[in-house]
């Protein structure tokens, strides 16, 4: 692997990301499975970095999952998106940041379609007016939330309490990054670093002290596949794709996986559990899995937040071995406690996958 070769490509894909004043929209999947992540994103941006991020309670799903499950027509999803843009316009923002990769891809695709076929935009404006009496401007800048953490990575590094270094060996942690397919595969120029060697997560890992691992199936989809997961009968597809990725990364013994898509960490986390239960195979050493982190979680961890405050307990794969490696202090007894030490009992332990 020739690192300079990658640097050259990264230099070609630098996208303009304004520093401040963003209209923030949430992700359905992230809110369900990693609720702490979104909270931490705003926490870090607003309170740590003192940036202006606006969120309105009136925004909804973008409809992307329903659209990619082919349950709603293109016009419907476009109008829902137009409504989101209208909310941004009404709030006086022109920079639009999405927490979800599906949404991000959805917005990018729709804006691109409108650009190429202006008659579609006109029609959607009419439909939105008819349905909601709203009008919108197309955002001047569209970003994914990971773009912003990437943008702020050095500021975060400057305030970091921990570095991604194995405290036992002194070596940088080996980190595998996984980019959501809809981040740059459709429009390589819309992603930091392009589609083939995206830099958005690599940049974070590098500036926080870790070492990025490239493995053969790095670019492969996690296997979500929308309808291939939401319908129970199809989940073998989803499982098989994740399995393929893990088989490919296994020889590299990564310390953890970093993702920027809300779905991928859920799938890569839970499919490890299913592979362990059905195939008896674990990838993380000592019967553990490989922890799969969102970039918000990682940023929060290096900034020194309590792992249980940011929702690390909602992962099926235990994160404790990773926390130990980095040297992050945590209280095992607090892991499954509610607010004010409320006893919530604890999840059952899986049969094969080792958990804490």
């Amino acid at each position: 692997m020739i690192y300079q070769g990658k640097q050259k490509i990264w230099a070609d894909y630098q996208k303009e990301i304004p520093d401040n004043h963003w209209f923030y929209v949430r992700s359905c999947i992230r809110q369900n499975f990693f609720p702490g992540s979104e909270k931490m994103f705003l926490e870090i941006c607003r309170n740590v970095l003192k940036k202006d991020f606006f969120e309105t309670e009136y925004h909804t799903t973008c409809g992307g999952i329903a659209y990619h499950c082919d349950t709603i027509p293109q016009e419907t999803v476009m109008t829902i998106v137009a409504r989101q843009f209208a909310l941004m316009t009404e709030a006086g923002y022109e920079n639009y940041v999405a927490s979800c990769i599906t949404s991000f891809g959805n917005y990018a695709e729709i804006i691109e379609t409108w650009r190429e076929f202006p008659e579609v935009e006109t029609r959607i404006r009419e439909l939105l007016w008819k349905a909601c009496r709203r009008e919108f401007k197309i955002p001047k800048n569209l970003a994914h939330a990971s773009d912003l953490i990437y943008k702020y990575r050095n500021e975060i590094a400057a305030r970091a309490k921990y570095r991604l270094v194995n405290r036992y060996t002194g070596e940088p942690l080996k980190v595998v990054e996984h980019i959501g397919c809809h981040y740059a595969k459709m429009f390589p120029s819309k992603g930091v670093g392009g589609a083939e060697y995206p830099y958005v997560l690599c940049g974070m890992i590098e500036s926080w002290g870790g070492n990025v691992i490239d493995y053969p199936e790095r670019r492969h989809c996690c296997g979500y596949g929308f309808r291939q997961y939401h319908v129970k009968a199809n989940r073998g597809y989803s499982l098989s794709n994740t399995y393929k990725k893990f088989e490919s990364m296994e020889p590299y013994h990564p310390d953890f996986i970093l993702t920027n898509c809300p779905g991928c960490p859920y799938f890569m986390d839970r499919w490890q559990y299913v592979i362990a239960e059905t195939e008896g195979k674990t990838y993380g050493g000592n019967g553990y899995g490989i922890p799969v982190l969102t970039y918000e979680e990682l940023a929060s961890l290096v900034l020194g937040y309590d792992p249980w405050d940011i929702g690390m307990q909602l992962h099926q794969v235990a994160v404790e071995p990773l926390l130990d490696k980095i040297g992050i202090a945590y209280d095992p007894k607090e892991k499954y406690k509610g607010l004010n030490e409320k006893d919530l009992m604890r999840p059952e332990l899986p049969g094969v996958l080792r958990c804490c």
Binding site: K232, A233, N234, R235, G236, Y237, L239, S240, Y243, K244, V274, I275, E277, T278, E279, G351
Partner: protein, 110 residues
């Protein structure tokens, strides 16, 4: 634990792992087999194509990819009529090739 689904087998051909020993044996008898340029003339003229999907082009390809079962399945209705030999632009003696395949490859494995 039963989740209601399981891993699916992969159909990808992994050329690193294909066992070509039988193909090499065949190639020893039929050196022309690798002259095939997959033009499909054989398939288009084949009367067995209607019945067992016979396509000599695919048979040759499948054998090289280690997909022996598929290849033999197609051969099932070959009537050895010789039209493929007549139309092959590379002059491959397809009839003898088919007979050699039938000698070397069998349902029984070896």
């Amino acid at each position: 634990m039963d989740f209601g689904f399981k891993l699916s087998p992969s159909s990808a051909i992994n050329l690193d792992k294909v066992d070509l020993s039988r193909f090499e044996k065949l190639h020893g008898i039929e050196p022309d087999i690798i002259k095939c340029m997959a033009c499909g003339s054989c398939t288009s003229s084949c009367p067995a194509n209607r019945f067992s999907g016979m396509s000599l082009r695919k048979v040759i390809l499948d054998l090289q990819r280690g997909r022996e079962k598929e290849a033999l399945g197609m051969l099932r209705n070959c009537m050895l009529c010789g039209k493929c030999t007549m139309v092959c632009p590379r002059g491959i003696n397809t009839r003898h090739l088919i007979l050699s395949i039938c000698r070397i490859y069998g349902e029984d494995g070896k």
